[in-house]
Symmetry: C2
Subunit: 192 residues, 2 copies
DNA sequence: ATTATGATCTAGCGGCGCTAGATTGTCAAG
DNA sequence: CTTGACAATCTAGCGCCGCTAGATCATAAT
């Protein structure tokens, strides 16, 4: 029964083409340009076909967001690999901001756009959790309350990314802010 | 010529009613429910009238955002008043998060929705700058590089607000994260 | 060859932001 | 008091959106 398998494969490929098209258009022209009609033209099928793959438009955004979480996790792990302590912390911070600022539409999908992403959902939890773990790994040496410290460090990075993205803080001072943040975490432990 | 003045006053009142309606609907049903048609019904005028007050829908969101920045500034100043040092810092942090979390739609308008808000614009700069100053005031005692430190502290608060709002970090641990953040800033100076 | 079944398409609903052009109200000049 | 200009406001509609019901087509079993 290779036929059914081929069909399943073709279906999966088509689904991937939808997600890829959505991501490409978003990164090039913003999420406002990502419409069902436009995606239908892009994959050369009619609009209803998209609804046999995704419940609605938000679900497509969510699919892109999951790609983003996977790639962010990889980027953070790479940034930390081979390093420990303060160096790892700083490298992760730099990598996080570089990721957010060089993939604005992807980061939008992950954090600022309304999606159906349930953080407590079984199937997706792993992907979303993995990035958190990568941050936790480099924070751990510096804190007793690892979860709280990781949440705080992550939030600081996210805030720095968002405010720089929207032009509210000076891009030229990014390194200095990172340095300050890393030092704050390091010494907080030393004296906590 | 009291007539022209009366007309101007009525116009200003109508404009204020538009902004108030937008804000009320957004806070009650989300920004997706804030449509030009809906606002027109609310103020009992036809849709084109709205365009004699605002260039487009985004400009209405921006007007709400400016109200938000003014109110946030007041809230932060109140939180800092009569306090100095570490106490002021902590109180401001608590007030910032309370503001963001208790006015989600307002905070959305200020930070996550696309608006025409130019941060370098003459007319609005004062309102947007004022909140920054309020934060800077409580950060100053702890840092040499005030601007960089303020940007970082603000970013951390913003990140904490966003991640908690979107259910990505645990609401129950908010106080602990604030405590950690404040300590980090205090000791960063002491050893910087 | 015929029929059932699933995949895909055509066509359309209601709603959106926004605007051109008609209509109404207002007030000064004749 | 009438008239005509001007501003305020409305009606009607364009092109787009997300989404879906029902028709049509291809495929594979009888």
């Amino acid at each position: 029964m290779g036929i059914a398998e081929r069909k399943g494969r073709e279906r999966a490929e088509r689904e991937q083409r939808i997600v890829a098209a959505a991501r490409a258009i978003a990164e090039r022209e913003g999420w406002g340009a990502v419409t069902i009609r436009r995606l239908a033209v892009e994959i050369e099928y009619s609009q209803p076909v998209l609804y046999s793959h995704f419940e609605n438009r938000d679900a497509i955004v969510a699919a892109v967001a999951i790609e983003g979480f996977q790639e962010l996790t990889v980027a953070l792990r790479e940034a930390a690999s081979g390093l420990t302590g303060r160096g790892a912390l700083k490298n992760v911070a730099v990598a996080y901001l570089a990721f957010a600022l060089s993939h604005p539409a992807l980061y939008d999908a992950m954090f600022t756009l309304p999606t159906d992403l349930r953080f407590a959902e079984v199937g997706t939890r792993a992907e979303l959790r993995a990035g958190f773990e990568a941050i936790a790994a480099v924070v751990t040496p510096f804190c007793a309350e690892v979860e709280v410290a990781t949440e705080t460090f992550w939030a600081a990075l996210h805030g720095l990314a968002e405010l720089e993205r929207s032009g509210r803080i000076r891009p030229s001072k990014r390194d200095e802010r990172i340095t300050l943040l890393v030092r704050a975490i390091v010494v907080a432990k030393r004296s906590g």
